[in-house]
């Protein structure tokens, strides 16, 4: 048994002896860790490469605004002098599917538009009506986002972008999520091939069923997916090939938009290109990944942790005063300051570890009970109509726990080191004569 084991054993004994101190210390650390972890988990869930959005770190989103040129009168159908441009099938194919820096590109309805595009499904017998979040996507959508198919298949390339002779078929096809399928048809039923009705006359034939995903992964989320038709494709998604950057996408599209502007006398087009992180956070920030954002958040987290750190520091100082005679005795028998600091840090680590475990449990409870608040208030997730599903990978990422734990361990260390160092500077005789 080395010194460390002895220190840990003493720390455990002291935890039992000084229950109030240990309890407050552990609770303080646990809350600090929980607080840090909730923020970290929210941002991690929004920004990291997690299922089904596994390419977030190299995903680029493109939208285009169109402004009516000065002096041009807009028609009633056009609605106003500004519009979010819906990419035509030709532009999708020519600009995006053939983009040299794109590993793959696809199109989808923006998540922001989905609240307004809730669809009310009716079973063929007319008995069940179910509101679902719908989204128009192309075939590549299911290659970019790794949805797991329980039944059936994704859209084929021909089905995914409805143009020409494929446009507006009598019975359109759809992919639905398993939770919707179970509500409509019951558990364990394969609904592939079944027909869904909506708006009384329109029909959908189910070709696939996917596992439900969380609305926190907002760009891939949906309960019902249609093939894109002209006018649906408001946002393009590009997964960059390795070695390419968002600037390559901008450079490639700049010339094409310029030509489009030259050819259109009525509208002027303005391209918006952003990374996944920029889309989720703020376009103004030059943050390309969740790691950048986490590093940007760290100073704020440290400042927020300063208050509990100062409180812990006061507690440690009071405890160190009580332990002065012990420190004096240890020094009398040959302990060096370095060894005593090592001991105090080890004891502190035991309490921090306990605080970390309690903090982890508090984090899970907070994220379970207040998940809607946490993800929508802290996370600015666009679709607020759906209760977020908080999945395992989001809740427990060892990396996030490690980062949160390290942040709090450093804060605790700072809270411990200063009072410990100050108390160890006391002369031995003075320390030993200190009344407990």
């Amino acid at each position: 048994m080395n010194k460390l084991t002895l220190y840990f054993r003493q720390a455990l004994h002291m935890m039992k002896e000084e229950r109030l101190f240990s309890g407050i210390y552990i609770a303080g650390t646990a809350l600090a860790i929980a607080f840090t972890m909730v923020i970290a988990v929210v941002y991690y869930a929004k920004l990291a490469d997690i299922e089904p959005e596994v390419h977030r770190s190299r995903t680029v989103y493109v939208t285009m605004n169109a402004y009516m040129r000065e002096g041009v009168e807009h028609t009633v159908e056009e609605g106003g002098n500004y519009k979010l441009y819906a990419f035509s099938d030709t532009l999708i194919r020519e600009w995006f599917y053939k983009m040299p820096c794109a590993e793959i590109a696809g199109c989808l309805t923006r998540m922001e538009d989905m609240g307004a595009r809730k669809l009310y499904l009716r079973m063929e017998d007319g008995k069940k009506i179910l509101p679902v979040a719908m989204r128009s996507v192309d075939a590549n959508f299911f290659k970019i986002y790794h949805h797991k198919f329980v039944y059936g298949r994704p859209f084929t390339d021909a089905e995914g972008l409805l143009t020409g002779e494929n446009a507006a078929p009598d019975v359109s096809i759809a992919i639905i999520s398993l939770d919707v399928a179970e509500k409509l048809f019951g558990k364990g039923v394969n609904p592939v091939g079944k027909i869904l009705n909506y708006y009384d006359s329109a029909c959908l034939r189910i070709v696939g069923v996917i596992e439900p995903t969380s609305s926190i992964a907002s760009e891939s989320y949906g309960q019902l997916f249609f093939p894109c038709e002209y006018g649906d494709s408001r946002r393009m998604v590009v997964v960059l090939k390795k070695g390419y950057t968002i600037d390559d996408v901008r450079d490639f599209l700049k010339e094409k938009v310029h030509r489009l502007n030259m050819s259109d006398k009525k509208w002027e087009y303005d391209l918006q290109v952003c990374s996944h992180a920029q889309l989720m956070m703020s376009r103004g920030l030059d943050l390309s990944s969740w790691k950048d954002i986490f590093l940007a958040l760290l100073p704020k987290v440290f400042v927020l942790l300063l208050v509990p750190a100062l409180n812990l520091s006061g507690l440690v100082a009071a405890r160190m005063k009580r332990r002065l005679p012990e420190m004096g005795v240890r020094k009398a028998f040959g302990a060096k300051k370095r060894e005593l600091m090592h001991q105090i840090i080890s004891e502190n680590l035991v309490l921090t570890l306990c605080g970390g475990l309690v903090g982890l449990v508090i984090t899970w409870l907070l994220l379970y009970v207040f998940r809607s608040w946490a993800f929508f208030a802290l996370g600015n997730i666009p679709n607020q109509t759906v209760e977020p599903l908080v999945q395992g990978e989001m809740l427990f990422s060892p990396l996030i726990f490690l980062i949160a734990f390290l942040v709090c361990a450093v804060v605790n260390l700072m809270a411990t080191l200063i009072p410990a160092w100050l108390s160890l500077r006391n002369p031995i005789v003075e320390s030993m004569n200190q009344k407990k």
């Binding site: 002895l6 054993r9 002896e17 005795v329 009398a332 302990a335 060096k336 005789v429 030993m432």
Partner: protein, 225 residues
């Protein structure tokens, strides 16, 4: 005989902003190797200060301390002093100064822990000295589970485990009843006679002091006998 402790012209002055107190004045003491010396005097006469200076727990305002032939210079660092104390000195205090969160065996092995000795050797030696002070059956007990006499026995075991040349005992029987006090004094005498350890003991008890080989007396910071 070899001189193991030599204090030359030791002065100790405690200063505050308002008051200056001379705790020790021109103290000159030599202690031979293997001697059992008692230091006596009324409360506040400087006995404990003297012991603290001998034990390198405190620094004199002026004067020289020599221990085991080494002159303790002001230039020695805290770490060097700690190492010297660890190897050369053993302490027994009136209020035992055992660490309440450690059990007997862990308290006793403390000096060896800071000497960097391995676990099994520490435990072997700790068991040996605990057996010697007659507490084999209390090894896993914590200090609060022991009587005063037993606590002092543990403190003696801790003082001798590192095999130091010198044991400094500051009123080791002051907190004990007469029977337990006699018991502890017997143990110290045994360490002196059988092991040849040099012991300097501060005491108020004339009867106990008479049992040691030499007595020096202090009054108001001065050695009077």
């Amino acid at each position: 005989m070899e001189t193991i402790i030599k204090l030359t012209d030791i002065n100790k002055v405690y200063r505050t902003e308002e008051i200056e107190t001379q705790a020790l004045e021109n103290v000159n003491i030599e202690v031979e190797k293997g001697e059992f010396l008692s230091v006596m005097g009324p409360s506040g006469c400087g006995k404990s200060t003297l012991l603290n200076i001998m034990g390198l727990l405190d620094e004199p305002t002026s004067g020289t301390v020599e221990l085991c032939g080494t002159t303790i210079s002001h230039n020695l660092s805290d770490n060097q002093l700690a190492e010297f104390r660890n190897k050369t000195l053993g302490f027994v205090f009136q209020s035992f100064h055992l660490i309440s969160s450690l059990n007997v065996i862990d308290n006793v092995q403390l000096p060896l822990l800071y000497r960097g000795i391995g676990y099994s050797e520490r435990i072997r030696r700790a068991k040996e000295v605990i057996e010697r002070v007659g507490l084999s059956h209390r090894m896993k007990h914590t200090p609060v589970q022991l009587s005063g006499g037993q606590c002092q026995r543990v403190a003696i075991a801790r003082a001798i485990i590192g095999n130091p040349e010198i044991i400094l005992a500051d009123e080791p029987t002051g907190n004990l009843d007469s029977k337990m006090g006699a018991d502890i004094l017997g143990l110290l005498k045994q360490l002196n006679e059988e092991d040849g350890r040099t012991i300097v003991m501060v005491t108020h008890n004339e009867q106990q002091a008479q049992q040691t080989k030499r007595i020096i007396k202090f009054l108001d910071g001065r050695q009077i006998q």
